[in-house]
């Protein structure tokens, strides 16, 4: 057991830090070209798709370097390394694993260069957690497929140019996991209609998407017909260490501590209130658990053992922290906590109240907590399936 970094890992950290100090000016000093310049520079460094194979334009960065990169970027509150989060997280890896040579040439560079933003067409009106039960239909018609159906809760759909779309090409199947086929579809194809949905925080991050007689060329199929479930499962398995998230949670916790130090509760300093102190300590224990769970999983990966369902442990911690930290801040702030940006008594520009309404983005998005509990109970503890 050893928590030290090697000299080369340490020098990589220094490299990231000095890059950040050279290229990340304070928010007020950033001009309108800042983001484009930033993306170009991190791309030139090879830090977009850092772990990807070199033949696809990645850097084949090791797990620890990847962890260091994410950690330092999160600490500096840097913009993301690339604009297509989903493209980098699983569309790209999915194409590299299942795509044709032509698909790789066509799609991978644009993801790395932040030219194209991807969204993910999984959930449907009647099938969210029960993902494999999807009904959106694709029929082979010569050189193309005809897609009809509906997707919903598609995060990023209002501004994405492409969607990775899960459809059903066969309805008469023994297992619902069979007969699913995956496609890469441009959002401006005729017959694709996006209707943004406003969430409870007032944002329009997700949308419903209607597909009416959309013609998708056969060459846009990802993987074989009927292989869509495997494509999806192995693409989602491309998740790596959650260290970046942990750093974000530590930052949030620090902000909460600052808030507590400047807030009074029933006329007393809130940071002296035993309940407040213990609540914050409980958050800190969970974030620390995420950190050290993550390091145990990282060690497993370094030893060449695949990560399986253990990551659900940290997803559950993350979900409860996302809900509880903001909710605690809003509660602590009393009536001021209700005020949004612009309110005369709003605290920290209303950020606590705003994010207290945004937790479902994270908590529901990657599989609900109850789905994570099913995964843990069934795959790690061997309980019978529902």
């Amino acid at each position: 057991m050893d928590f030290d970094y090697t000299a080369s890992e340490q020098s990589f950290r220094e490299e990231v830090r000095s890059f950040i100090s050279d290229n990340l000016p304070p928010k007020k000093e950033r001009d309108k070209n800042f983001l484009a310049n930033w993306l170009e520079k991190v791309r030139a460094k090879g830090w977009v798709g850092f772990a990807w194979p070199k033949e696809f334009g990645g850097s084949e960065g090791g797990l620890i370097e990847q962890t260091i990169l994410r950690e330092e970027m999160a600490l500096a509150k840097a913009p993301p390394l690339g604009t297509s989060m989903m493209g980098l997280a699983w569309v790209g890896p999915g194409i590299m694993q299942y795509g044709t040579e032509e698909q790789k040439r066509k799609f991978i560079p644009d993801i790395l260069d932040s030219k194209v933003t991807w969204c993910t067409g999984y959930s449907e009106p009647n099938h969210g957690s029960d993902l494999a039960a999807i009904q959106c239909k694709a029929e082979l018609k010569g050189d193309h497929y005809l897609v009809n159906g509906q997707k919903i809760w598609t995060t990023g759909a209002p501004w994405s140019q492409w969607i990775i779309l899960l459809t059903r090409t066969q309805f008469d199947v023994q297992s619902k996991h069979d007969g699913i086929t995956c496609f890469l579809v441009p959002m401006d194809a005729p017959g694709v209609e996006v209707r943004p949905i406003q969430n409870m925080a007032g944002d329009k991050h997700f949308a419903e998407i209607f597909f009416t007689d959309v013609q998708v060329p056969v060459e846009n199929r990802l993987g074989a017909e009927g292989e869509g479930w495997n494509v999806t499962v192995s693409a989602l398995a491309n998740e790596r260490s959650s260290i970046g998230e942990v750093t974000q949670m530590f930052e949030k916790l620090e902000n909460l501590k600052e808030l507590v130090k400047t807030t009074s509760l029933q006329g007393q300093p809130a940071n002296k209130d035993p309940k407040v102190r213990r609540t914050i300590a409980r958050f800190e224990m969970k974030v620390a658990a995420m950190k050290f769970n993550g390091l145990r999983y990282l060690t497993k990966q370094i030893k060449g053992e695949p990560l399986t369902s253990e990551t659900s442990v940290n997803k559950l911690h993350r979900a409860s922290l996302e809900i509880e930290i903001d909710d605690f801040a809003v509660q602590l702030l009393g009536q001021a906590g209700l005020q949004l940006r612009g309110g005369e008594s709003a605290v920290d520009g209303g950020t606590w109240s705003k994010s207290a309404l945004n937790w479902p983005n994270v908590v529901i998005g990657g599989g609900t907590p109850n789905i994570q509990r099913n995964i843990i109970a069934e795959r790690l503890l061997g309980q019978p399936k529902d």
Partner: protein, 367 residues
């Protein structure tokens, strides 16, 4: 960066698990716990021969010169089977001698402790739930040629089995550890919930010790020994928690109700998943705390409080859910689940409960 165990540590774990299975299975644990001495000298000798009592004692003093992370491998694996032998107390007593003793005392005492010939324990605080130097009320007064002790140590683990006890007192020059022999003090066994963890009160009134048996102890040393106690306790909570989770999970797969194994119902399987999440989380925190004892003393207090703060409540809940999910059978004395629930009650206040540790986390975090 490597947050995993070495091959040697894995072999050590296998060795302990084999010992528990072959030499100290649950019927034996129950037999020892129900016996007059609550101790088994044959098993103790075996444990000593295996080297487990000298793990953290330097080689120069007859030990193996390993680290606390190695010790916690033993404590965790032994606690899976609720081992009633005072291995943790012995390790804490050695830590006390290493921390507060002089060279002479280390030379004289540690080899016998490593060999198991001197069974030892420590007793720090005299208040039931207060971790603070002020919670030490027993006293040592200067007398001709040494000291006279006064007061009672009400909560001393494994006192009845020990030959020597290292007990915190207020001496003429501040805090100290009084090293006393079992026969010189009055030890009274206290009935408690967890019979695998014998507790006694030790009355010190009028006991005389010579000067070299009073070891000066700073507040920092007291805090360090307390943190070591919490690390040892948390390691045992990892092993015992894993055991009752496995027991309960297996039961849920086999117990049929309404035509299905109860583990198929989300009301049951989600509780099991939550137990797993908590166990794995305090496991990670516990390993980090154990590593910190030797390799990051500056960060030890925080690491310990994160681990023991998390584990105290989580293991208590795991104990309750483990018994509860079994239904009525879990409530019976015959079934082993209840022994783990009792261990979770025992572990909760030891070296600080969750309230203490969470408050310390807040303080260390700048609140």
């Amino acid at each position: 960066m490597n947050f995993g165990f070495t091959e040697e540590q894995s072999l050590l774990r296998d060795q302990v698990e084999r010992f528990m299975k072959e030499a100290c299975p649950m019927p034996k644990v129950r037999e020892i716990a129900a016996s007059e001495s609550r101790f088994d000298s044959t098993l103790w000798q075996q444990v000593a021969d295996l080297g487990w009592l000298g793990l953290t004692i330097p080689e120069a003093h007859g030990g193996l010169g390993l680290k606390w992370i190695d010790l916690t491998v033993v404590l965790e694996a032994a606690a899976e089977g609720l081992c009633p032998l005072p291995i943790a107390s012995q390790a804490l007593a050695s830590a006390a001698v290493l921390t507060c003793g002089n060279d002479q005392q280390k030379n004289d005492w540690l080899p016998a402790m490593a060999a198991g010939k001197a069974i030892c324990t420590i007793g720090l605080y005299d208040e039931a739930n207060w971790i603070d130097p002020k919670a030490i009320t027993a006293q040592a007064h200067a007398s001709e040629g040494g000291y006279v002790l006064k007061g009672t140590k009400p909560f001393v683990n494994d006192a009845a089995a020990a030959h020597y006890l290292l007990l915190a007192v207020n001496g003429p020059n501040g805090l100290a550890l009084a090293a006393v022999a079992k026969d010189d003090v009055k030890i009274t066994h206290q009935p408690t919930m967890d019979t695998t963890k014998p507790m006694a009160s030790v009355n010190l009134d009028g006991v005389s010790i010579s000067a070299e048996f009073l070891l000066p102890m700073s507040e920092e040393q007291l805090a360090f020994l307390t943190d070591c106690g919490a690390v040892a306790t948390t390691a045992e909570m990892v092993g015992a928690g894993a055991a009752i989770l496995a027991m309960t999970s297996n039961y849920a797969k086999e117990r049929i109700q309404f035509g299905k194994p109860i583990g198929q119902y989300q009301g049951v399987k989600h509780r099991l998943a939550d137990m797993y999440v908590d166990l794995e989380s305090y496991r990670s925190l516990s390993y980090y705390a154990a590593w910190s004892v030797d390799d990051d003393v500056a960060g030890l207090a925080k690491a310990v409080s994160l681990a023991k703060g998390y584990a105290s409540d989580a293991f208590a809940q795991i104990g309750i859910d483990g018994v509860g999910l079994h239904g009525a059978i879990g409530f019976t004395a015959e079934y082993d689940a209840q022994l783990y629930l009792k261990r979770s009650k025992w572990a909760r206040p030891m070296y600080g409960d969750s309230d203490y540790h969470m408050d310390r986390i807040a303080t260390l975090g700048g609140l």
